[in-house]
C-alpha cells in the first residue's frame, strides 16, 4: 500500500478531525463496498500512527485501500507498504533525550516525596513542582499509564497511606530504570509500553478478538492528571471469562451504551499490560438488556476460590505495583454480615470489604445485605488492607438475575 496514500489519509484526518473546533476525531468507521462485498473499515490515529482494519480481519485489503482513498481524496501514490508498520513521527512521541528527562523527573518526584514524607507531601510545594515537571516532560497528551500514576499517587498522599504510596512510587522507579537502560529487554519494553503507550516505530503486540459476547458489569471514573479524567468500564468476556477494561478519557468517546449492557464484539484489540488488560472495541452491537442466560453465565464464571484470587492479585501487583488495578467477579460460598462483612469461599478463605474507598457504595451494599438480599455474585476492584485481600464493591446480582450497580 502506498505510503503517500497513508500520509495523505493521516494529513486529512488531522486537518479535518484533530483541529476541528467541535471536537477530536479519533476513529472513523465506514461501510465500504468492493465488488458487491460490504465490509466495515475502521481507521484510527493512535500516537501519530494510522491503524486500519476491516471487518474481514485484513489491514491492507481492498476495502481498507478504498477507505483510505476516500479519506485522502484520491491522491496519486507510487509505492507500497503494509499499514500499521509505518511510523509518523509527531510531537506526541517520546524521543531518547526526553526519555532520560522523564526518568530524571520521576526520580526527582520520588526523592521529593520521600524527603518530605507522606504526611506532609500533600502541602509540599516541592512535590507539586516535581509532579508538574513529570507532566511537562511527558509526551502530550499525557499517556494514560502515566496519568493514572499521578492520579493514584495524589490519592494515596491525600489518604496518608505510606505503604500504598511506596508501591506507587516503586512502579515509577522501575519505569525510570527501564527508560534509562541502554539495551532494552523485553520486560523493559513492556513496562514502557504499559506506561507510555507503544514506542514510535514499534509494532504493538495487540491481541485481536473476534465475535465475542461481553457484558459490562461496572464502570467508574478514575483520577489521572486531573480528577475524573478517565471513565473505566469493566467488560467480562462470556466465552473465556476474562475481564477487560475499556478506558474512555473525558471528552473522548468509546463504545456506546449503558451499564449494564451486553455487547457483541465484532472486532476488538487487547493490549498486553497490567490487569485488567485494556480493550479497544472497534466493531460492536449493543443490547441494553442483558439476557438471563448471560447473567447465568456470569455466575458460572465468577471466581470461587479466594486463595487463587489472592495469588492472582499478588502476582498482578508484583509485576505492576502502580498500574495493576485487578477487578474480579466473585461468587462467594457464604457471606457473614452481622458483625462486619466477610465473604467466605468453600475452603474458608476470607475476603473483606474495602471501607475507605467508595464509601457510599460500601454503605449501600451493606444496607442491602441487611435488607436480606443475597448476592449470587458480586464484582469489584481488588485491593488489600493491611495484609488482607479486600474488594471495593461495584455491582452485584442475585440468583434471580436482579442486577444492582453500586
Amino acid at each position: 500500500m502506498s505510503t503517500r496514500l497513508r500520509e495523505a489519509a493521516i494529513r486529512h484526518l488531522r486537518a479535518h478531525g484533530a483541529v476541528s473546533p467541535e471536537g477530536l476525531v479519533r476513529r472513523l468507521t465506514m461501510d465500504v463496498e468492493v465488488d458487491t462485498q460490504i465490509e466495515m473499515v475502521t481507521l484510527s490515529l493512535r500516537n501519530g500512527e494510522l491503524q486500519c482494519v476491516s471487518s474481514d480481519g485484513q489491514n491492507d485489503g481492498r476495502h481498507v485501500i478504498a477507505a483510505l482513498e476516500f479519506v485522502a481524496g484520491f491522491e496519486q501514490r507510487d509505492d507500497s507498504l503494509l499499514p500499521g508498520v509505518e511510523t509518523v513521527t509527531g510531537r506526541r512521541s517520546l524521543e531518547p533525550p526526553q526519555q532520560s528527562e522523564l526518568a530524571d523527573a520521576l526520580d526527582e518526584l520520588l526523592i521529593a516525596v520521600t524527603r518530605i514524607g507522606i504526611d506532609k507531601a500533600r502541602y509540599a510545594p516541592s512535590v507539586d513542582a516535581a509532579l508538574e515537571r513529570v507532566i511537562e516532560v511527558a509526551p502530550e497528551p499525557t499517556p494514560p499509564g502515566l496519568g493514572r500514576f499521578i492520579g493514584r499517587l495524589r490519592q494515596e498522599v491525600l489518604s496518608g497511606k505510606p505503604r500504598r504510596a511506596a508501591r506507587i512510587l516503586e512502579g515509577a522507579a522501575r519505569l525510570a530504570d527501564a527508560l534509562k537502560v541502554e539495551s532494552r529487554t523485553e520486560a523493559s519494553e513492556e513496562r514502557i509500553r504499559a506506561w507510555l503507550g507503544p514506542r514510535p516505530g514499534s509494532v504493538p503486540e495487540l491481541e485481536l478478538l473476534y465475535d465475542r459476547t461481553m457484558v459490562e458489569v461496572a464502570r467508574e471514573w478514575l483520577a489521572g492528571t486531573t480528577r475524573a479524567s478517565v471513565e473505566r468500564r469493566y467488560l467480562v468476556d462470556l466465552t473465556a471469562g476474562a475481564i477487560y477494561r475499556e478506558d474512555r478519557p473525558s471528552q473522548a468517546t468509546a463504545s456506546l451504551g449503558p451499564c449494564p449492557r451486553q455487547i457483541h464484539v465484532g472486532l476488538a484489540e487487547v493490549e498486553p499490560g497490567p490487569a485488567p488488560q485494556r480493550i479497544r472495541v472497534l466493531q460492536y452491537e449493543v443490547r441494553p438488556e442483558v439476557p438471563a442466560e448471560s447473567w447465568e453465565r456470569l455466575h458460572q464464571i465468577a471466581r470461587r476460590s479466594f486463595a487463587q484470587l489472592m495469588e492472582t492479585y499478588r502476582r498482578a501487583v508484583q509485576v505492576y505495583p502502580t498500574l495493576a488495578e485487578p477487578f474480579a467477579l466473585i461468587a462467594p460460598y457464604r457471606i457473614e454480615h452481622d458483625d462486619g462483612f466477610i465473604a467466605l469461599d468453600s475452603e474458608g478463605h476470607r475476603l473483606a470489604l474495602e471501607r475507605t474507598e467508595r464509601r457510599g457504595s460500601v454503605l449501600a451494599f451493606y444496607d442491602l445485605l441487611n435488607e436480606g438480599i443475597e448476592p449470587a455474585w458480586f464484582a469489584g476492584r481488588l485491593t488489600d488492607v493491611g495484609s488482607t485481600l479486600c474488594i471495593s464493591p461495584f455491582a452485584f446480582a442475585t440468583r434471580n438475575h436482579d442486577y444492582t450497580r453500586l
Partner: protein, 600 residues
Amino acid sequence: MKKPVNRKTTPNWTALEHFLREGIASTECGDPREELGCAADADDREVARELVRATATNDIEEIGTESLHPEAARHPSVRPPPEGAADPSFLGRLSATGTGDISVDQIDDVPTILAVLRAGSRKQRRAALKRLGERLRDRRGVPNDALRAATQTITELRDVEIGYELARLRTELPGAPGRKARSEHERWKRLAAEIKEAVRSFWDGLLDVEPIHVLPGDDRALLLMRTPELPAMVMHHINAIIEGNDGCVPRESRVGLLASFRNATDRRLVPTLVAVIESARGELLAEAARVLGGIDDPRAHPALVERFERSIVSEERVALAGALGMHGDCRGLPEVRSLLQEDQPASILHALEAMESLGSSENSELVVRFLDHSDIGIAVQAARTLTRISDGRVLDELGERYNTTSVPALRAAIEDALSAIAARMELRGEEVAEIDWSEVGNKPAPRQGSRDSLPTIVLGWRDYFMGRLWLLLGRINWAVARFESAARRRAGWVVPLIGIGMAFARGKQYALALPAFRRAIELDRPRIERNPILVRAMAKSFLHRAEQVEREGRDDIARGLVGEVLTLDLRRAPGTVRFELKRKHDVLGKEEHDDVHSAA
C-alpha cells in the same frame, strides 16, 4: 570512596514506615541508611529508591499472610454521627425513616399526619403520605371525619414534589378520583411499553432519534414521574443518556432530562448521578446534585460532600449546598446566605431554592425581601422557600404581599405558604394562625361585562350553540366562526372564547388556541384558573406551543410563552404539566426577559 554497607538482616518495617511517613530527612527515628543497609554516604536518590523498593516488596509479600487484618475487619456500616437537629421542635425531630425518637410511621392521629403533609420537609411529606395510606387501609380507630378529610386531602393535594406517591395512593381511592388515577396509570403503562420498544429499536439502530427526548413535554413528565416502575432496560437507557454514553443526545438535552428527575426517588439513578457529580461541571453537575439531594441513599451524601469540598464554581456550590441540606448537612448555609445578602442576580433563584432545604426561621427575614422582586420567578421562589421555612413571624408580610400583588402565580404561592405556616405552627404546639381570607383575599374584582340587551343575549347564545353543533359535526372552522360571532355580539362574554380555545386545543392547533385563551384570561382569569379542565387545556396549549417554537430554534419565544403561563395560578393544572412547565422554564434560560408580558 563510599563507606561500607551496614546491612541489617531484617529491616525494622515499622521504622521504614515511619521514615516514609515523616520523611528521610527526619532525624527522629535515626538514619534510614542504616535501617536500609545503604552506605553511610549514600545520596538521597539511592536511599529513596531503596526505601520504596523494600517497603513495597515487603508490603506485597505480606498479602494473604494474615487471615483478617483488624483494619479490614472493622464494621463497614459505621456512619458518622448525625448532626444535631437545628430545630428541636416536634417537626424538627420528626424522623421520616423510623430511626429517630419520633417517627412519622408511629403517628396514628390523622390530623397530625395531614399537618405534616402540608408543613414537613420533602422526606417527611413522603413518609406522611405513606403513613396516611396505611391508615386508610386499616381504618380501625379512625373517625369518619378524619377519613373524609384524608381522602379529600389526597384528592386535592397538588404537591408536585411528592407527585409519584400521590398518584399511587390515589389509585387506591374509591369513586371517581380513584378511577381517574387508575385510568392515568393505565395510560402510563401503555406509554412505558411503547417507550420500551422504542428504546430497543434505538439501540438496534432502527431509530435515529432518542425516543424519550422527542416525547411531548407532558407525556415525558408523566412517564418519568413513575420512574420506580419503569422497566430496568429503560432505566439503563436513561442512565446512558445522563452519562453521555448514547452517542446522540446533546448536552443541553441531558441537562433537561436531569431536570425531569428533580423529584425522583429511584435509587437506580444514584450510580449515574454520582458519576456525573464526580466528572461533570457547571449546569450538568448542578442538576445532578439537585436530583441526588432528593434521593434517600447512603451513596448520595459522600459524593455530594466530596464534590462540595473541591468545587469552586458558585453555581455548582449553591446546588451542592442545597442538596446537602436535603440530607441534613448545612455546611453550605453561610455561603448561600451571603449570596442572598449580596443580591447577585445570577445566583438569587438557585440560592433561594437551596434555602428551601437549608433555611431556618433565622433566614426568613432575608428571604421575605425577595417577595418584592421584579422578576416574578424569583418572587414565586421566595414564597416557596418561605413555605418550607414556615416561620410564623412572616405571616403578616405574606398577607400584605398577597393583597398588593396582581400576579396570580405569586398569590397562589403565598396561599400555599400561609397554609403551610399555619400547619407548622399547629405541629409546634403554637397558637394556630387563623388566616382570615376575607382580609387577605383582597383580590381585584373580575371585570364585569357590559349589560347586553335581551336580543343580543339571545343571538349570542344562538351563535354559541350553533358553534357547538358544528364542533360536534367536526367542522372546526365553521364552529370557530360562530363562536367569534357570539363573542363580537357580547364584548365581555368569555364562554365563546373558551370554546374557541378548547376547540383548537383538542385539534392540537396550539398556535391558534393561544390567542383565544389569552382573550379569555383577559376577560375572566379566575374562571379559567378555577376550572381544572380549562386550566389543563390552557396550560398544555402553552406548553406544546413552546415546544413547537423551541424545535424551530426560537428559544426566546418558547421561554416567553412558558414564562407567561407560569405567572398564572396553575395549581389546578395536572402536576405533570406544571412540573414540565417549570422544568422547561429553568432549562430554556436562567433569566426571563423583563419584557415578557404577564398573562394576568
